[in-house]
Point group: C2
Chain length 635, copies 2
């Protein structure tokens, strides 16, 4: 399937969730997470830093990345306002927007750190000082703010900043041949282009992407120019086990030549997202091919079953293929959010359900886990095993993850449907009511489902008048049997590239019923994943399960799952919160009463054990939850 043109991109007019899974989370995001992050931005000095009144000796000293946290909050709050009017929140957003705008310098430059803390540092440390990264996030915020409020002040300011950056960087004589050490602005510039129609921004994005990794290497050049002045993150790279290499920020070679996913995971995901955007906008087969190679490399060797990526905290990123340790998994929440973004963009480049499968895997496991049920505690790193010491926190010194998760939740409606070739693509199954523009007319869709705990999805179609178009329904990769009934008639389910397509003249009252079989599955990792050998994970539908000490006692690795043990889904409204499907079954456990002999010639006996597994995304939501484990031993 060819790359979609920009003109055919999704047109969801509005969407409202009323399911029991996401709707409450989105409401908690609005009521607790978004106000909570604002308060923490305030308390930690991130907002006051925009007053530019820092002076030496004053604490806290602003950090180079602070503007990005403020930006992500504005973006999240804007999406929330768009989906759910909230005058108080809107007033607070607008107030903050004015403060951000006040940071802008006459030349268009807009960065609080390099305007109040390090005036001489502007553009001297692109590799580590997050200057263009912060600019990118503020551009995303500006677009969201404009779309939510119709108010263009921040958008205008960021266009001026983008113009200044355009004049500063590029291949033309007199311009700096630099590019960001932390990718982000590349995808933001595409958004800015789409919001404004100004192709300079697309061009600048393409420059940043294509300049990356060229020789002579800009970061080497920049380092020489700094002389003895260390980069902002020099202390970080000097910690034991860490060293800087160009792989860290994917600048080790030109991006079109890259076929291995390397380095810092968030950086990589933002870069690849931009590459996919540009592949779509420019119909660039070279970039599209690079994206596909990188996607395969990631999903065939670097992706945790939870949708986590980045095995180690050493580089907050990737190691070698199949190196997927569980207890020491890094799996930064932001990285999986980035993967979700990338997958969404890949659907426009290479329409295939595998991208949406990964989006779903990431969404229902890692991202859903990143925010606690009460909306005030977050995971930064998401291991697949814990001895009981790993817990969500309210904030982090580097606090990219909470506002990132918040903006995704607030904008989830953007990812359910897309429109192309005179039809609708249904990527995610979540109960909602939406209006879509298809082929010049408005179609109302009503999705009813108890997904992810139930595989039955009913979709009522209501076009303003009878119209012929295609509805493409994703058949998830985890589903072995699917049934499709339209207006009471059984249809054959022949998924092409992961979607089954129903094309007909649709009329008001038409009903699609899609039934996805959702048995409890035992998942086996590729044998090259040494850490998971002899182990299985439990999955049902898109949801990966884990066991917690609070349900199963301590020493979870003493539990073994016989291949013939029956594992059953059980609805549970008591244990954690209303409406959870847990998995139960009689399995086995090493006999804890085994005497003192350390080595023996006989097998250790097992005793029967009642297993209780909960969705991974719900772990550590109860006081005293203790140990946790995803990959369980099998016998």
């Amino acid at each position: 399937m060819s790359i979609q043109t920009a003109g055919s991109r999704s047109r969801v007019i509005d969407i409202t969730f009323d399911d029991t899974f996401w709707a409450p989370r989105i409401e908690i995001n609005r009521q607790r997470t978004i106000p909570g992050i604002y308060e923490l931005c305030k308390v930690t000095g991130r907002i006051d830093a925009l007053k530019l009144d820092w002076e030496p000796g004053k604490e806290p000293k602003p950090h180079v990345f602070w503007d990005s946290d403020v930006a992500k909050w504005i973006e999240a709050a804007s999406y929330s306002i768009a989906a759910h009017p909230d005058e108080d929140l809107k007033a607070r957003v607008n107030e903050l927007v004015q403060l951000v705008i006040s940071v802008q310098q006459p030349d268009g430059y807009l960065n609080s750190y390099f305007t109040s803390v390090d005036l001489a540092g502007r553009w001297t440390d692109l590799r580590d000082s997050h200057e263009l990264y912060c600019a990118g996030h503020m551009m995303e915020a500006a677009v969201a703010h404009y779309e939510a409020t119709g108010e263009a002040s921040l958008l205008d300011a960021m266009c001026r900043y983008a113009d200044y950056i355009y004049d500063t960087f590029g291949t033309a004589p007199g311009k700096k041949r630099g590019y960001p050490g932390h990718e982000e602005i590349e995808l933001a510039l595409v958004k800015l282009y789409r919001a404004t129609g100004n192709s300079k921004y697309l061009e600048l994005s393409k420059y940043f992407v294509d300049e990356r990794g060229n020789q002579p290497h800009y970061f080497d050049h920049e380092r020489e120019n700094r002389g003895g002045t260390p980069s902002y993150f020099e202390w970080y790279y000097n910690e034991p086990g860490r060293t800087y290499s160009h792989e860290y920020n994917q600048s080790h070679k030109p991006v079109r030549e890259q076929d291995q996913v390397v380095g810092h995971a968030v950086r990589a995901m933002y870069l690849y997202s931009a590459m996919a955007d540009l592949a779509q906008e420019y119909q660039d087969e070279g970039l599209a091919a690079a994206c596909k190679r990188l996607w395969n490399h990631l999903t065939e060797g670097l992706l945790y079953i939870t949708g986590g990526i980045g095995s180690t905290d050493r580089n907050e990123g990737f190691t070698q293929e199949y190196d997927l340790p569980n207890e020491h998994a890094y799996c930064e929440t932001c990285a999986s959010i980035g993967l979700f973004f990338w997958g969404h963009r890949m659907l426009k480049v290479d329409f295939d359900g595998r991208y949406a499968d990964t989006m779903e895997q990431v969404l229902y496991n890692l991202i859903a886990s990143g925010v606690g049920l009460d909306g005030t505690k977050f995971f930064y790193d998401n291991p697949l095993q814990s001895q009981g010491m790993h817990h969500r926190q309210t904030w982090f010194d580097v606090s990219c993850c909470p506002p990132n998760a918040s903006r995704l939740l607030a904008s989830l409606g953007k990812y359910v449907y897309s429109e192309q070739d005179n039809g609708i693509d249904v990527h995610l199954y979540i109960q909602n009511t939406a209006r879509l523009q298809i082929g010049g007319q408005i179609v109302k869709l009503r999705q009813k489902t108890d997904y992810p705990y139930d595989g039955n999805v009913m979709i009522e179609i209501d076009p303003t008048q009878p119209a012929t178009f295609a509805i493409r329904l994703r058949i998830p990769g985890w589903c072995r049997n699917a049934h499709l009934v339209i207006n009471g008639e059984e249809q054959s389910v022949e998924a092409v590239h992961g979607y089954v397509t129903a094309t007909r003249e649709w009329r008001g009252g038409d009903v699609i019923v899609l039934s996805l079989d959702m048995p409890v599955e035992r998942v086996h990792a590729h044998p090259n994943v040494r850490m998971d050998r002899g182990r299985i994970a439990i999955q049902r539908g898109p949801v990966v399960y884990c066991v917690e000490e609070i349900d199963n006692g301590s020493d979870l690795d003493a539990i073994v799952i016989p291949d013939d043990a029956v594992l059953s889904p059980v609805s549970d409204s008591q244990t954690i919160h209303s409406d959870v499907t847990v998995i139960e079954g009689t399995v086995a456990r090493l006999d804890p009463n085994l005497g003192s002999q350390l080595y023996r010639f006989s097998t250790a006996p097992y005793v029967p054990f009642i297993l209780r597994a909960i969705p991974y995304f719900l772990w550590d939501n109860r006081e005293g939850a203790g140990e946790m484990m995803v990959w369980l031993r099998r016998i």
Copy 2:
């Protein structure tokens, strides 16, 4: 069984090995290891440091523990001379002994470091400066030198030093209430007492053992006295992951109250060895009980199947029970040598074969592994799994292990037999000819066996005249079936405390044939050892096996051992060196050709695989040996 009195201790007049296992190793030790260590002591400055001509700025700067390496070399060389006359070696030893004696100060003090490098430091840092530790090793050397050569110059010098130490430390007014931070002198003083009959030395040993851990704590007091001066090892404790605690050197409480094996493993073993010595000498039930408690704690939760002890390099020692990681096992060679010493002494305190079982386990696995086949390369730490990066080295900065292994090999004859209650105890089965004094007469014993690869042992008894005494033969803990035939008559095998006793009037020409069944066994670790769950080790007789990449290909953890696979011993004179029994069998291996899918709902298939396991002690003796693994997955 009561504690043996010192008067009944072993009297082996002489012993000569002519087996194919140890005799060649002892010869290589004499011909290559002992001269090699001398050369390295010379090259690294350890010997020249005894000239006391170091001055500031001169490199290398001596270390506080260098005297101990020289001492262990003298001790090893002396044992070797005693077992195998060697005039050149004797001359070299005597020359070095004179150099050591020249270090002695008029007051009796003898330590090269604190006489040439840090004159003000004497007795200011007992905790970390190894002063009493070096004294202890030189006392052991002096006793060995005297016994080997009859020449008393070093023994006299060390007695003068011991007298000075006696006058310096103790509970009497004016004496320091100190004791060593690295135990060793305690057991050395017992040897000095036994060699000289001077009970002051025994008394001083008992003082050091009993003073240990009392409050107010000497090491705290000493630290205050030093003011701001850091201890010798302060840099070490300040490394990430390390902190000093009194557990590190077993001074956290009085030794009689200790029931947990903690801290630095070599320190612990030397302390417990001295405690066992004192329990024997003083018939001290309190110390004996403490030793038994500590032995149980060690062997029931802290002992690797290879006889290795000390799980982590953080403290070169112990962590909690059942924490026995394989790849990151520390298992210092010296620690297991110390355990061997302790076990030998425990036999005098509590005559039970379990102590000799552990000695054998340590000897045939970890200690035999510590020295490479060519006698010039050594393991300091002995992991049970390697990704191929762990290799023997010719020397180490802290080089305690090579001379320690060398002195044990050179004195192995001391550990085969002991005499008590008018009888002979046979602890180890090694082909040899020995003369023992039993009940006033000399008995010649001839042991013929291919142990450890064959369980048949023939012992010919040849007393000078017919005499009635007991022969106690150890029935190893690993042996499920043993047969005993004396002069052609089958005997019942009823082991008491691990030994079967044959008491009769023995005459020249009497022959005992002991047959120990030696099938290939699968060993299961206690289920609390998480790292070994779902895994087995292969053992035959006392020998633990491992697999190496050179025989089995890479990715050893892809191999699985079905419970019903037949594993067979095969004699092999080709692969590594003459006369090895390897284990072979058809097992299974994960199919390496399994496509690119990272997660799937079906079990990974296995393919048949021919396994080849070699004795653990032989690993890393071939070029390109690669990965190694002891605990193999089972299905």
